[in-house]
């Protein structure tokens, strides 16, 4: 169990931004033809979803910059946990990318300070299931493919701030299982 030093890890992160992502199921971007331009948000107060400690915009990163979901949430194909990216992943780019507007610069400054102080942000969890449910991400991605995230999480690529689009209640899960004729057995998810 060795810990890499921060700088060596950066080397990996930089190499990764140039090379395709590490995950075996490589996401092939299949964006619609005109490239997405994330809008300027002047009134963040009206955005749905919880306010996060750093205002991370999925519409810029995943939408405009077309970073695949699996670049950050890399374990979704192999584990029940999709994985919140380590701060090192953010810093991999943001050590160089400082932001083009003052508001962007302010948020990116938070990322750099967090990494320097070894104080990761405490993200507010948006999608949570109760403790008596076992949700295996890897089974769902295996069937739906690495573009399948939008089925349940909505079009995150257009979200400045992530919010929950689906109820995530059991009835909603069961509907999809019924439509696709997969197991509705209780002990597949409840144990």
């Amino acid at each position: 169990m060795t810990k890499r030093s921060g700088w060596a890890g950066l080397g990996v992160a930089i190499a990764v931004t140039i090379a395709p992502p590490l995950s075996p199921a490589v996401a092939q971007s299949s964006q619609p033809a005109p490239p997405y331009k994330a809008p300027v948000i002047s009134d963040t107060g009206r955005l749905p979803g919880p306010r996060q400690p750093i205002f991370f915009r999925h519409d810029i990163h995943a939408g405009q910059d077309r970073i695949p979901c699996l670049y950050c949430h890399s374990t979704v194909t192999i584990s029940s946990e999709p994985g919140i990216p380590a701060l090192q992943t953010c810093f991999g780019c943001h050590q160089m990318i400082g932001g083009s507007t003052p508001s962007h610069q302010a948020e990116i400054k938070k990322v750099r300070e967090a990494f320097a102080n070894r104080q990761p942000p405490h993200w507010i969890r948006v999608h949570a299931l109760p403790g008596f449910v076992r949700f295996p991400h890897q089974r769902h991605i295996k069937v739906l493919g690495t573009e399948g995230c939008t089925n349940c999480h909505g079009d995150v690529r257009t979200m400045p701030q992530v919010y929950q689009v689906a109820t995530l209640r059991m009835g909603w899960c069961i509907n999809c299982h019924v439509q696709r004729n997969v197991s509705r057995d209780c002990t597949v998810c409840h144990y």
Binding site: Q138, R184, D185
Partner: protein, 995 residues
């Protein structure tokens, strides 16, 4: 009966008020996700990582695989690479997690102030004080007491003691000094050989509890199973096992014959058997055995029968069987090695093995037990004398708790010691008496190595960051105190450079080291050495007989507890709540006595007796059992701590208070003592899971005589007639048709696995490793003694023990079976659940959905096996009255299994989390689940490999074959529950056939 009809009937008969559960409804509290700053390499959240290390819960040195999730070890399994335990693990090994996460661990270095209070120190201060004390004590007596340390830490202590002019004493309360002295008498070598149970064809144990605490219990139980289990169609019959001892221990319960000689006369019995073999030329005699003729002639069966209390004809029969098997193995230990004449008894058993030609075959000198290097009780006695005489200025203790096992003497002696240092991670009795406490890391958190057996170098590595970050490995403390550079890990690696010279085989050190880490060490075979009879073995005669007991006193035998061992297990609730495999009592010790004794004194279970020996007195509740000689009493070790944490402190009595502190002649301790017994007016309800000591003809455990079992051919089903009475044939056929119809609807249509188990009672010994493994895997709550008395225990799998025989026709024996949810095909618990929380899954499990359950408890009411358990309290509530996992014990919870709330029913799920996990992995790899992919926790732990799990619909699976075995039957099958568990009848030979 289906659910709809049942609920209609229920409604028609007056209706039940719907019980609205008022718990846990409402918005979830805000959760936070805190990412890594720099993630550890190759760690995937949600996927476990396994590390190989070594168990240090006793001296056996079994290999471990530690399952680590998100940086916490949550489950321990045996390491399949280790030849010691073959991938299996006992209950104590499983419970090591509760030592690691124990809430009563010492968190910081502490020093006792002048007023007797404890004061926290920094490590610099603490090590500074240690170094200062060492310097001041030079020449005035420095002693370092440790447990058995056969590897780098022991070497470091030796080196440090040489440097400081001190001495290193190792102390193990169960050090088997009699084995060493007996082997020295018999063969001139004090080594403890390795016993090849797997190669044996006839096993006689003279008190050796080789499934409990004797030498290497997991490994020996596994090997014993290979010799003793029954296999249909195997040409050679299974080995017969005879247990010789005054009480029917766990090991004895697996015996085909129980011989109970007069306590202390086991050596006479062994010599008599040897005499029969020599006189009748029943085995090829080693050349020098002729020297023994005189000794043996004096111990012919007729001459010793009276003293032994066994008929001469039986002795002769046993001897003949032993020799005729041409693969006999006699082992001595346990109570037989703990009388004052223990060494002579061991030597007599050595002679028995020798004249049968088995030394070198089933008894192997060469791959000797590491325990042979432990200090003796005499050495500890000498130390106590030095301490009392003020000859020791500085005493350091690590890995030993002598104040618990020598309660009076050692405590008093400590008063004369200048300065006392304890390295214990726990506030045990010895630590409570210390002046400076330097808390060690737990074995799971640190580097070390050991040599459990010659040729095996077991490596120990930290499997996670320290739970208590301000504890420090004792090795690191010593190095710093001595002013040496480098960490203890460097020291261990330094030793392994030496091993690399010998075993590197062309690999560079880095590769060699990583290979050793991955496999848990280096495993080589030590060559078997030839031994010859010792020079003075002919003079054995005098000491073998043993002293007669006092007339007005009863012999009391103090036997080692399987769960608590020498007391070290008492701070772990899993072990306290583990029903003793013989008595089924938890959380308290007891005194065992025979029904005749109880009748004579008019005693009932739970009555408190005052037991007085020349050395102390204790109060013990009575437990009446036919599994003991009428003229003997027995008590288990382990309880009676005066410190050692909330689970151990002030609980029950300490039998070590009854024993003499003076060593016996062989340098060990006599665990047998004569006591007077006095009734008291007090009574205590015992926390036991036993309902009835006898089966009363219910047919829970079927037993076959060996001859009958060998007659059975594949395809025959001797137990089938009992399961389906003829008058029920039509009803059953109609029912089967209805099931078939249902299996084509919706979710249930198509091919599904049918998960099933086969439990071989010819292998199961009742050791209860499965019970603790289940607690660990499935987040089972420990409820404590008060609730256990009210039968509120949560153990999803329990071992039921029933006594058999005991009349003129049959001698006393015992049979055991694991009882768990049978996952019935026609489950009585399913139709009665009003909310569909108990239902049948398409893959044959009886599903229990915790979030649907409203706590009617009708399912438990209807279950004929009584394997459903209700959460009467909120065992998971932090700070709650019945909290089972006070911080940091909650770190051992398995994240793959829901932690149940109050008001919810639970039961065995066949480790459905492992089933789903294997199915998920198979799906990712685009393949189907293979037989062997899924192993429930109980099956994985079982040292006897008695439990087999698999898919009944897979024709090639092991469980499908075993379900068709002629010995197979179902428990309470006449109720038409259609269980998924097939039990294979136990097979016995000799006197204990047919329960």
């Amino acid at each position: 009966m289906d659910r709809r009809r049942f609920l209609t009937v229920l409604g028609a008969t007056g209706g039940a008020a719907a019980a609205v559960s008022a718990c846990g409804i409402g918005p979830e509290p805000t959760e936070h996700l805190v990412p890594y700053v720099i993630p550890p390499e190759n760690q995937v959240p949600g996927v476990a990582t396994y590390y190989a290390t070594t168990c240090r819960e006793c001296t056996a040195g079994c290999g471990l695989h530690a399952k680590v999730r998100e940086g916490r070890v949550i489950k321990l399994e045996g390491n399949p690479d280790s030849p010691i335990n073959q991938g299996r693990l006992c209950a104590r090994g499983q419970a090591a997690l509760q030592g690691l996460y124990n809430p009563d661990r010492v968190t910081d270095p502490m020093a006792r102030t002048a007023t007797g209070e404890w004061q926290k120190l920094t490590w610099d201060e603490a090590i500074g004080r240690l170094a200062a004390q060492v310097k001041a004590a030079r020449g005035k007596g420095i002693v370092f007491v440790t447990g058995l340390e056969t590897g780098s830490f022991g070497d470091l202590v030796d080196a440090w003691m040489r440097e400081t002019g001190g001495r290193h004493v190792t102390y193990e309360p169960f050090a088997f000094e009699a084995l060493r002295e007996g082997n020295r008498l018999a063969f001139g070598t004090p080594a403890i050989p390795w016993y090849d149970f797997a190669a044996a064809r006839y096993i006689v144990s003279f008190g050796a509890d080789f499934m409990e605490t004797w030498l290497s219990p997991v490994g020996y139980q596994n090997a014993f199973t290979h010799a003793h289990a029954f296999q249909t169609g195997r040409a050679a019959p299974p080995a017969k096992f005879v247990y010789v001892g005054p009480r029917l221990s766990l090991t004895g319960m697996s015996a085909d014959e129980w011989i109970a000689p007069v306590p202390g006369s086991e050596g006479l019995l062994a010599l008599a058997m040897a005499q029969v073999i020599v006189a009748g030329r029943r085995a090829p005699l080693p050349a020098d055995a002729a020297r023994l003729r005189g000794l043996l002639a004096a111990h012919a069966p007729e001459k010793v029968a009276a003293a032994v209390g066994i008929a001469a004809s039986d002795i002769t029969r046993l001897a003949r069987e032993f020799a005729a098997s041409q693969g006999g193995l006699a082992v001595a230990g346990g109570v037989a090695a703990q009388y004052p004449n223990g060494a002579e008894i061991v030597a007599a058993v050595d002679i028995l093995n020798y004249v049968a030609g088995q030394v070198g075959k089933t008894v192997k000198f060469g791959p000797n037990h590491g325990l042979g290097q432990a200090g003796s009780f005499k050495q500890l006695g000498d130390l106590v004398a030095d301490l009392s005489g003020g000859k020791v200025a500085l005493l350091l203790v690590q890995g030993a708790n002598p104040v618990h096992t020598l309660p009076g003497t050692f405590s008093q002696a400590l008063g004369h010691v200048g300065f006392k240092v304890s390295f214990s991670p726990y506030w045990d009795e010895t630590t409570a008496a210390a002046d400076l406490v330097l808390p060690d890391l737990h074995p799971l958190e640190q580097w070390n190595d050991s040599r459990p057996r010659a040729g095996i170098y077991a490596l120990q590595q930290p499997v996670m960051q320290p739970v208590f970050p301000n504890a420090l490995a004792a090795g690191d403390v010593l190095l710093r105190a001595a002013g040496k550079a480098g960490t203890f890990k460097d020291y261990v690696q330094g030793r392994w450079h030496e091993l690399h010279q010998r075993f590197g085989k062309g690999r560079d050190f880095e590769q060699f080291w990583n290979d050793a880490l991955q496999h848990g060490g280096i495993y080589t075979d030590a060559a078997t050495q030839t031994v010859r009879l010792g020079p003075r073995i002919e003079q054995l005669g005098a000491g073998v007989a043993g002293a007669p007991g006092a007339a007005d006193k009863l012999p009391l035998v103090v036997f080692p507890s399987l769960a608590l061992h020498d007391g070290r297990g008492a701070n772990k609730p899993w072990l306290q709540e583990l029903p003793d495999p013989v008595s089924k009592i938890t959380w308290h010790a007891w005194v065992e006595l025979h029904p005749e004794t109880a009748a004579k004194w008019q005693l009932a279970n739970g009555d408190i007796l005052l037991l007085k020996s020349p050395h102390g007195a204790v109060r013990a509740p009575v437990w009446i059992t036919p599994g003991i000689r009428p003229d003997v009493l027995a008590v288990p070790t382990g309880q009676g701590h005066k410190a050692y944490g909330r689970y151990a402190k002030d609980r029950s009595f300490n039998p070590f208070e009854l024993l003499s502190d003076a060593p016996a002649d062989f340098g060990g301790r006599a665990f047998a003592v004569s006591v007077t017994v006095q009734k008291t007016p007090e009574h205590r309800r015992l926390a036991t899971i036993e309902g009835d000591a006898r089966e009363q003809g219910r047919g829970v455990i079927e037993v076959l005589a060996l001859a009958r079992a060998r007659e059975l051919k594949s395809g025959s089903h001797p137990f089938a007639e009992r399961e389906t009475p003829a008058y029920a044939d039509k009803a059953l056929a109609d029912w089967a048709d209805a099931q078939h119809e249902k299996a084509s609807l919706g979710n249930y249509a198509g091919a599904h696995p049918r998960w099933a188990m086969a439990i071989d009672l010819a292998k199961c010994t009742g050791c209860s490793a499965c019970v603790t493994a289940c607690y660990a895997e499935n987040n089972l709550a420990t409820v404590g003694e008060e609730l256990f008395v009210r039968r509120r225990q949560m153990s999803w799998i329990r071992i039921e023990r029933y006594y058999t025989g005991g009349d003129a026709a049959r001698p006393v024996g015992a049979v055991v079976t694991p009882m768990l949810c049978q996952q019935c095909g026609n489950a009585p618990c399913e139709p009665v659940c009003p909310v569909y929380a108990a239902y049948h899954t398409p893959d044959g499990l009886n599903g229990q959905v915790y979030n649907r359950c409203v706590g009617t408890r009708y399912c438990a009411n209807n279950c004929p096996y009584k394997v459903r358990y209700f959460n009467w309290h909120n065992y998971a509530e932090p700070g709650g009255e019945w909290e089972s996992w006070p911080d940091p014990l909650n770190m051992l919870l398995n994240p793959d299994v829901t932690v149940r709330e109050k008001g919810v029913m639970e039961k065995c799920t066949f480790c459905v989390q492992r089933i789903r996990g294997a199915q998920n992995r198979a799906r990712l790899e685009d393949r189907v689940v293979q037989d062997g992919d899924i192993t429930p926790a109980c099956a994985q732990a079982c040292p006897s490999e008695a439990i087999v799990f698999g898919d009944l619909h897979d024709k090639t699976s092991r469980v499908a074959a075993l379900a068709q075995d002629p010995r197979g039957y179902h428990v309470l099958a006449g109720l038409n529950t259609r269980p998924a568990i097939t039990y294979l009848a136990r097979v016995t030979q000799g006197a204990a056939a047919e329960a």
